[in-house]
């Protein structure tokens, strides 16, 4: 187990390094950042000074090592636009995105698992087929489209929920979060649902496949022979078995959830790091883009590790034998 964990960490470090190289050469070397740093009518001297200040006059490999060295110390440069350290900026916007993604993940389980289990239970009836066709629509609806529709229905027409923005926040351990304030939660519901829909379809399909597979197992028949009710069979015997793959997949999807938050946050004007990223792309604020990428890579790596550990906890067979496959 420990060996496995260490190997996983080593892999992660490799991925992080590879990403650094790609990000640096990809983002830093395309175009000339100086153009947006100084006014068009600057004198050549001014340009040169700025180049020197940011180290752009150095040869590429020197620039690269400076970048890596700074990155390892947690310094990814200063935002051209905000003037703040890019990492600080990202950290400031990150909690809003993370809580949105977390709530979205929760919604997708809440919606997907019961639907999937039911679809698996009724797999050759019309109910099961209808759910599966519905899940294809879930896959088909673009994120921003869903958000738009939800705003139109629940905010504009019905006026049940606020349309855009973040609402109240509560400070928890020095981090501003909406999820613990009633008003804030209202603002979160629509964007979180938007984010959840695609994953809910995924969960529905996974849960259906798992349920179908579990229902023909002997242990389900044995549970029936014990006189256990169908409800308990579905929601204890089957669910416990299918939750392992679902949690694994969803955990890995948390990363893509954070990525897709870019779209959702734009639709709902949600002040998270996804919106920050889009704004930075539109204003060519490179350090922030780089910082976002590197932070996302870090988050991905952490998520992958955590998923592995959670998986181990959920599956008693893996936990006790100590092996993992």
């Amino acid at each position: 187990m420990l060996v496995y964990l260490l190997r996983r960490i080593a892999q992660s470090v490799f991925v992080a390094l590879a990403m650094m190289v790609i990000v640096f050469f990809g983002i830093y070397m395309i175009g000339n950042p100086v153009d947006i740093l100084i006014s068009p009518d600057a004198t050549p001297r001014e340009i040169e000074e700025t180049m020197a200040r940011f180290g752009f006059d150095q040869p590429i490999h020197i620039q690269f090592f400076t970048f890596v060295g700074n990155a390892l110390q947690g310094d990814l440069g200063r935002s051209f636009v905000h003037g703040e350290s890019a990492v600080t900026l990202i950290l400031h916007y990150m909690p809003a995105t993370l809580e949105l993604a977390a709530l979205g993940l929760f919604f997708s389980i809440l919606i997907g698992v019961p639907l999937g289990v039911y679809a698996g239970y009724k797999s050759d009836r019309w109910q099961g087929r209808a759910i599966m066709t519905g899940s294809i629509f879930g896959f088909s609806l673009p994120n921003f489209w869903v958000g738009m529709l939800l705003i139109l229905i629940f905010a504009v027409e019905l006026r049940w929920l606020p349309s855009t923005g973040r609402g109240d926040t509560v400070e928890v351990l020095g981090i501003r979060l909406s999820i613990f304030s009633e008003n804030g939660l209202q603002y979160m519901i629509l964007p979180a649902l938007t984010l959840a829909l695609y994953k809910a379809s995924l969960v529905t399909r996974l849960a259906r496949a798992g349920t179908q597979e579990a229902l023909v197992q002997d242990y389900v028949k044995f549970a029936r022979a014990k006189g256990v009710s169908e409800t308990r069979i579905l929601f204890v015997h089957v669910l416990k078995n299918i939750m392992i793959p679902i949690v694994t997949v969803l955990g890995l999807e948390l990363g893509s959830m954070i990525a897709f938050a870019v779209v959702t946050e734009t639709v709902f004007a949600w002040p998270g790091m996804g919106k920050l990223l889009i704004d930075s792309i539109l204003t060519l604020d490179r350090p922030v883009i780089v910082a976002y990428l590197m932070m996302t890579v870090l988050i991905f790596i952490v998520i992958n590790l955590v998923v592995d550990i959670v998986y181990t906890i959920l599956d008693p067979r893996v936990r006790l034998t100590g092996g993992s496959t």
């Binding site: 242990y219 028949k221 022979a225 014990k226 006189g227 009710s229 308990r232």
Partner: protein, 326 residues
């Protein structure tokens, strides 16, 4: 007193390839404390008979005919909700493969306590106590501690004991045991057999013991029923059937047990292949493989005849009637 009386039971599978008549007119009855050995080669419909009694036949299978009278109620007609109340409570079942019958991700105590609480409103504590005593009864050491374990922490033999303990939890009137020892090695098999026999005797529980091993039946069952192609072809007191089988198929089955016939002789085999259940011959299903079969056997299925020993038989040319004149 009769616990179970099965009459003309028919269970068919409606597959794409046609109707498989897995059980097609099975009759038998069972008294309190009686052990019935149900034998027959693979695919003869033993398990389906067992599952039919509990109404647990998987689709596309369905009980399509007959009566399953259990303590005066016809299980074939019972609504599903009442059937659920009987399962695991008055009628319990033990499956063939102990590795598959317990849910791998639920602890033993969860799986035992739910079996009690599915039928009785008792506290978790009381259910737990009952689980501990059931585990002790089937010979699991330090049961209180073992309750917290997961199935994979038990060996195959131990798991089957747990499954048996679960079957015993609510003191059922009838246990259907579907080859419960086939997957186990011989020493454990005989231990479990002895234990089950004692339990049945002590509690008056009737037992249907499904097996294809006649040696097991010899030591355990009061009566034996031999199944072939979805029908019981011969039934009677164990000693009588084993000593003088009347159906040529029973003869073949007995002959294929090593050690039962004369030593040194070649192991007798029933010639031919097990029949295709989706396409049975018109007459006696065993006729194509039977050394005594004639034109009548191939044309007309034999009816049940009652034998002197209290047995019943489906055969035009029983062995005790002597060689058939040609």
């Amino acid at each position: 007193m009769t616990v179970l009386q099965v009459e003309g039971l028919q269970t068919h599978f409606f597959t794409d390839a046609g109707v498989v008549k897995a059980v097609d007119g099975v009759d038998f009855s069972l008294d309190e404390g009686e052990v019935l050995g149900l034998v027959g080669e693979s695919g003869s419909g033993k398990s389906v008979t067992g599952f039919s009694i509990l109404r647990l036949v998987d689709p596309p299978g369905r009980v399509v005919g007959g009566h399953i009278m259990f303590r005066g109620q016809d299980l074939a007609q019972l609504p599903e909700s009442e059937m659920r109340r009987l399962r695991g409570n008055r009628i319990a079942m033990i499956f063939q493969d102990p590795m598959m019958t317990l849910n791998p991700v639920l602890r033993i105590d969860t799986q035992m306590i739910e079996a009690v609480r599915a039928h009785e409103r008792v506290s978790a504590k009381a259910a737990r106590d009952r689980a501990i005593s059931a585990l002790a009864k089937v010979g699991i050491p330090s049961p209180a501690e073992r309750l917290g374990a997961y199935p994979h922490q038990f060996s195959g033999g131990m798991r089957q004991r747990v499954a048996i303990a679960i079957a015993l939890l609510n003191g059922p009137d009838l246990i259907v045991a579907d080859e419960p020892t086939t997957a186990l090695d011989v020493t454990i098999q005989s231990q479990i057999l002895a234990e089950v026999q004692d339990l049945a005797r002590d509690t008056g529980t009737a037992l249907i013991w499904i097996t294809h091993d006649l040696a097991v039946v010899a030591g355990l069952a009061d009566r034996v029923a031999v199944m072939y192609a979805g029908r019981i072809v011969e039934t009677g007191p164990t000693d009588a059937v084993l000593a003088g089988p009347d159906h040529p198929y029973s003869v073949g089955l007995l002959g294929s047990i090593p050690g039962h016939g004369q030593r040194g002789q070649r192991l007798a085999q029933i010639p031919g292949m097990a029949p295709n259940m989706a396409d049975l011959p018109p007459g006696c299903a065993f006729a194509p493989r039977c050394f005594r079969a004639d034109a009548r056997c191939r044309a007309e299925a034999p009816e049940i005849t009652v034998r002197g020993s209290g047995g019943r038989l489906r055969c035009h040319h029983p062995m005790s009637a002597g060689e058939v004149a040609t």
